[in-house]
Symmetry: none
Subunit: 230 residues, 4 copies
Amino acid sequence: MNTWKGAVPGADAQFVAKRQMILREAAASFNRRGYHGTSLADIAHTLGVSKAALYTYVKSKDELLFHCHEVAMDAAVESLRQARAEGGSALAQFCGTLRNYLRMILSNEACYVVLTEEQALEPEKAALIVRRRDAFEAELRGLVAAGILDGSVAPCNPKLAVFAALGAMNWVQKWFVAGGAWSGEQVAVALVQMIERMLAAHPAAALNVDPALLPALLNAPARTAPTAVD
Amino acid sequence: MNTWKGAVPGADAQFVAKRQMILREAAASFNRRGYHGTSLADIAHTLGVSKAALYTYVKSKDELLFHCHEVAMDAAVESLRQARAEGGSALAQFCGTLRNYLRMILSNEACYVVLTEEQALEPEKAALIVRRRDAFEAELRGLVAAGILDGSVAPCNPKLAVFAALGAMNWVQKWFVAGGAWSGEQVAVALVQMIERMLAAHPAAALNVDPALLPALLNAPARTAPTAVD
Amino acid sequence: MNTWKGAVPGADAQFVAKRQMILREAAASFNRRGYHGTSLADIAHTLGVSKAALYTYVKSKDELLFHCHEVAMDAAVESLRQARAEGGSALAQFCGTLRNYLRMILSNEACYVVLTEEQALEPEKAALIVRRRDAFEAELRGLVAAGILDGSVAPCNPKLAVFAALGAMNWVQKWFVAGGAWSGEQVAVALVQMIERMLAAHPAAALNVDPALLPALLNAPARTAPTAVD
Amino acid sequence: MNTWKGAVPGADAQFVAKRQMILREAAASFNRRGYHGTSLADIAHTLGVSKAALYTYVKSKDELLFHCHEVAMDAAVESLRQARAEGGSALAQFCGTLRNYLRMILSNEACYVVLTEEQALEPEKAALIVRRRDAFEAELRGLVAAGILDGSVAPCNPKLAVFAALGAMNWVQKWFVAGGAWSGEQVAVALVQMIERMLAAHPAAALNVDPALLPALLNAPARTAPTAVD
DNA sequence: AATGAATGAGGGTTCATTCAT
DNA sequence: TATGAATGAACCCTCATTCAT
């Protein structure tokens, strides 16, 4: 048994690469089955190694979840930084942040944890994550409020607006299927368009859909398992 | 030990009342900690009874989750039925459904399960739930599509629109705190207003917030644990 | 729920009658599934009463097993007494005892426990039963030995002989099916004939079977569950 | 805690050896206390390991019982095969089978399950065992019938004869004590002699006992627990 | 670096038994 | 007398974690 699922490139950076694989696999499983619903044996088996091998790269299951959350928060912060750097109205920056974040989340380079039981962490670790998350959300609220002031965002309650936007975004994990009809990029763009319309002071008249398609969409097939949008 | 957390009224309907308490408590815990993160011992302890006592009212943990999902689906279907009965444009019916659903979810009469691991159920039960959920979502997509045709909804992809709306709604469980600054009713109304703005062909210019309040909102306190909107 | 499976005759002797029913049912279940494999709920359900009702008639599951063993031992002792009373050679008395015992065991009046985990009893109760059983077996060994001396039994080791005979007898519980092709009486007679042949100084030339039937018997159908002899 | 009760020899066959120990211990306990009366904790404790350790070698308690039954059936089939190979009259083959089987059962190399609750198994596994057992018993009946035809066996009902013989044999587990006055080999030979006498067309005049011993046997000591024959 | 084996701590479930009604 | 509800103990099994190899 020594598969490591193919990956594992050249040299001594193997350690880092393998650790990455574990984190990715763990995040995927946490998203799908929840923290407590995921056993280390599952992860190990998927990677083709033994349970014990994981402990070479990770100190505990708890730490695994912690790192997943950290990676996700890093992505969030980075998304915001990039959007800020690109400038534009507060609304543009807000939407840019969400779009960047979605792109990262939906890329198959890495797998980010959302929705997931942060209270499963040890209190101190949980506090750390929650603090960062709160800070991020506060920044988003700030952008919304600023948008109202600069006229790009329609007057609204920023806290509620941010919750609504984050909900729409985090829910993606529940229905997006990599390799489905829509690419991650498409979803990122289209979903943020919807959110933008929710907040914009001057919303677009329509979203990117050919009205001729509509009758067909009425009979869209059921989603048995989480399925791609089409 | 015989608390049952106060409740338990007069008569022989005790059985039903107690069962209800268990379901409520279970749903709350499932929402907070996930199915696998919830132990029957937890639930029993919260209710002040022994683990074994639960088995008088419920056949298995699995069944507990199943009933929670059923109740939630009943609420969804009923929400739709009421909204349909009230008539109006397709958009009005769509928003009415969501509002009704939120009201039920946020009432403290009962506790509904969202977000939660349906794959934890036995395959047949899971299939049953998934089928109902798919049917419900299909109805919502139908309303959106109809709205586009009747002019109440801006052209968009109905599938994506429904996912966005459901995401915003289901996320409520993550941040709403009963007894906080906002009542469930307020959240239901305000959140649906946001969603309506996302979809409406002719969106409102503003949402129900006094712009004078905005500067204050910029410094909103952090949310340490799930906190109420204010 | 108040069935008691029909029985329960006239008056106040109900108590005794019901207790009898419980013992019968318990013995049947102990024989089939073993002491630990039988739950009081099973017994109660078969009788159509609640688990708690059993405790009106029986102090504990343990006591239930004890009484079953006592009844069985009573039957054994009584069998021996009757056989002794009828007199005859030691072999005749030995076989008479077994035949009487089989008759009682196989009657559907009562149900006797055999084979069953006497070590499941509390030590003192177990000791009581074991003592009686040992005494009974000693008597049987005495009869065999006496038979050797009086010439009715072929020289052999009495202890082994008794074990062999008891084994053949107690095994009946495993394959006899009331209402099957053979009656209890038939089995009692035929089986003791076989045992008699094993011990008799002058064995019968043949046992009660028409040799013409034999070829048919070669293809006897399989016994899926314990089945009657035919 | 790492005893494994001494055994566990040199090499990598440790796995097999330990598994064997578990099976042996389980079989012994099943025979003594029944399947439901045996807890994995008991077995583990006897072997000096933790309950969880058993699961490295065995998938479930159920499987444990299944393997015990399989080993027993293997022994039965092998006994028959050997006896057939040695040839002789049908009676000789019948008796040879039983003798071989007893030798295996009573060897302390392995421990075989008899008497034990096959209905405790999952239906499919139970069916498998029952099928093999029925086939074996059918073979034995065939030998008896053949014996009647070839004149080695006294006319009798083969089905009843086989039940009687098997009862006498399986009962051995109840009273034989390894290390007692009689060796397993002695019991195997002597008991089969008795069974042979039960069936033989021309029974031996006496069995292997010195008549001079008989008076002493009359006062044989009680058997408190299962005791050896002497 | 990786593994198989081992373990203590639960988790879900059943059961004999008690008790108020 | 009979019952439904309640409970503590026990049982089977899983899991995160450690350790010798």
